[in-house]
Amino acid sequence: MGSPTKSAAEHDDGAVGRRRFLTFLVAAPTLTLATTNLAPDGIGTAAAEAGVPGLPQPADIMDLGDVLILAGTPTAHLLVLEVTEDGEAHFELPRAEVGQGITTAVAMLVAEELDLPLSKVRVRLADARPELLMNQLTGGSNTIRSVYGPVRRTAAAARARLVAAASTRWDLSPDRLVTRDGAVVAPDGRTASYGSLTGLAATLPLPGLTVKPKPESEHTLVGTPTSRIDARAMVTGTMRYTLDLDVAGAKPTMVRRPPTINGTVRSVNNETAVRAMPGVIDLAVVPTGVAVMAETFGQALDAKDALDVSWNDGTVDALSDADIRKRLRAAALPFVVPPLLTRHVDAEFDFAFVSHAPLETNSAIADVRDDRAEIWAGLKSAIVAKQTIAAAIGLPEDRVTVHVRQSGGSFGRRLFFDGALEAAQISKAMARPVKLMWSRIDDMRHGRARPATHHKIRATYALGQVLTYEHRVAAVETDFRHGLGEILTATAARLPVAGNLSFAQTVFLTTVKVPYDFGVVTELLNEVPLKMHTASWRSVYSANTRGAEEILVDELAKRMGKDPVAFRRAFLKTDRQRRVLDKVAAAGNWGRTMPAGFAQGVGFHDEYKSCTACLVEIDARDPGKPRVVRAVIAADVGRPINPRGLEAQLLGGLTDAISTTLRAGLHIDRGLPLEGSYSQFHYARQKDSPTDVRIFIMPADGEPGGAGELGVPAAVGAIANAYARATGTSPRSFPINFDVDFTPFPR
């Protein structure tokens, strides 16, 4: 195990502690790779009665989460945990909290391992730490999977040192001491608080100390429903997001953006007049537009709107939805199996672009000086952000400090750091600290989006068996240039896919898999590169790819004369999968009689060592205004850390599925999305949300699987299937109700 260091640490409140305390920076662990995760998950353990077993797909053997864990392993134990003299544990998490509840889950792990009340654990998001190499990326539903072992081992090491300190002080064998409620307790009842021991614990030479985390059977906090550690700050308005920070001299700044994506400034025609507007402080042309700084954001907004700018063309000016759809259809790779010999089901599906639209728009604070820079932003790829920003402003990396701030939603958006980069460029141009905020309209039109996709699926069947299953996905290129390429390159030799695949194809093959025994299965991605701003959107390819598959599964079941739940039961690969399906079927009273215009629908999904089923009931009496009125979800994530937080993630996934299946998407029109706010991009509101939601978390039966993105694909399938049954239609294009029912904002 590593050794403790003495340090003076600066905390979030700015107070600098000068006293000694126990700080762990545990390095060079003698640990093996997470090989237990590399075994195929239940493949072949429970052969389905009816299915023709298919070979494992790449994602069965090694999924994207395994890849991230593998790439992060060399630095996985470079974690910082401090035990302070007031008896608190302060942990620095090298990930981004964006609402998914990882700080709470990690605090629970620390509290459990240290036998410390949860209220005494503080979790702070670590600054960008390049020494972590590939281990500071928040994505792929991977945080809990990747930190579960390392956090527990680090906290266990701290606990062992505190016990050793008490043992030295009392001259008692450490075996006779126990820890309880933030203190070490001797057999005679003497207690020593961690705070009183941390100084000694930091200085003891303990070369032979070996530690092991608690057996999971002894967990009392981990696995129990727990409220978020930051909830009180959120409900009292004291939570500080990036733009709520008071950084000396950083003034409100906004950017006037081009009329089409990636347009550039040719000339600013009324600079003098705009500079004379009330409150305006400065103005600068940057690569993305014209930046205006003012005393208040209201004035910056007025000034940017008043700017008269001539623009150069963007990168997709001629492009509209019809062209994109045509190109996607042309790009879908052909099927291998001809439809002539056997009975078959063919279907094609289209999914629109979807904005991430986190409620906190793209924002950042940057203070760039001649010899150093400091950045504050919500960043899921903090190291790549730091490296890119340093290069862009011409400073050595070690002169750029990047603070990761907790932020108001992401859904994949904050994998990219364009706001932070832009703020740094503006700060350099203006030679002042900058508080940058994107307008909502800009965030939706010039921000990032889930790429549009086209899907062709063909399944052949005979004698009650599905013989072949082919899925061809054509997608507008997803931008993965946030460090994932380096990770895939570094792990290439271990990847379960061979040949000259693109990063995108590798991500596709390590995330998407068919959970059913459908004989010979091939799923292929072909991308259409368009110079637009795209990014992974919660569940990357799975929401569309698996969503479409779950629709096809219903149609296949119908063709083969089976009930949708019975059909899935028969063809799922494992009993573990069948248990979650059975759970929603029973709890949701599958098959109950529904009034005309109402229907049930079901969907299933398996990814990142977790699986889930979703059953919904829809009211589609007016097919133009459907509402999901009831939902039942079951999930098996292997080992839930905080079931309450997990339920929240599944609820969020359900709402995402309701939105993107029924109404929310972006129309691309001559190089720009038409949608510019929530009045136009129809993300669900309370009136679109079910009044009855029940979520069941299956008991722990293994290592933690991924959960952040799990909830979307099954719900997409369930909602589309319910809509199809209620309306007697076969939805093929999503969102289903997608008229331009608004007047777009001016460009």
Binding site: R232, L359, S677, Y678
Partner: protein, 151 residues
């Protein structure tokens, strides 16, 4: 520049500002009251929902001149010292917040609803238009019902 005097969370403030400056920016940029959030600026997302003389308003479209002589309450002014408002308590008990960014507005909207309607139906709760991009709506609904039972 004209000056306007009004109360923010029980404290009298006077600000220099153009008459048409939205109250949101007066609160956030001039007074440092950052609980109300920007999400759209056009009264669509409702993230900035606060109270003006007890009524829910959206400061992103309320000019500061309209606040003159009146009482503005933001999320920061809802609790009584360390004693939370029953709606805030219900929010904690239901563990509603995910990213938390919309929640000050959601809570202020819920408080305004419960002030007018002690026991709102599902249809009345549906009328709250505040966007929650994390999709916490069901927990918001349960928290409102829980708060109604408390109050």
């Amino acid at each position: 520049m004209p000056t306007y005097t009004f109360a923010v969370n029980g404290k009298t403030v006077t600000v220099d500002a153009p008459a048409d400056m939205p109250l949101l920016w007066v609160l956030r940029d001039k007074l440092g009251v950052t609980g109300p959030k920007y999400g759209c600026g056009i009264d669509v997302c409702k993230a900035c929902t606060s109270h003006l003389d007890g009524e829910a308003v959206n400061p992103c479209v309320v000019p500061v001149s309209e606040a003159a002589g009146r009482k503005v309450t933001t999320i920061e002014g809802l609790a009584d010292g360390d004693t939370l408002h029953p709606v805030q308590e219900a929010w904690l008990e239901e563990d509603v917040a995910q990213c938390g960014y919309c929640q000050p507005g959601q809570i202020m909207a819920a408080v305004a609803l419960l002030r007018k309607n002690k026991n709102p139906t599902d249809a009345e709760i549906d009328a709250i238009q505040n966007v929650c991009r994390c999709g916490t709506y069901f927990r918001i609904r349960e928290a409102i019902k829980r708060a109604a039972a408390k109050m």
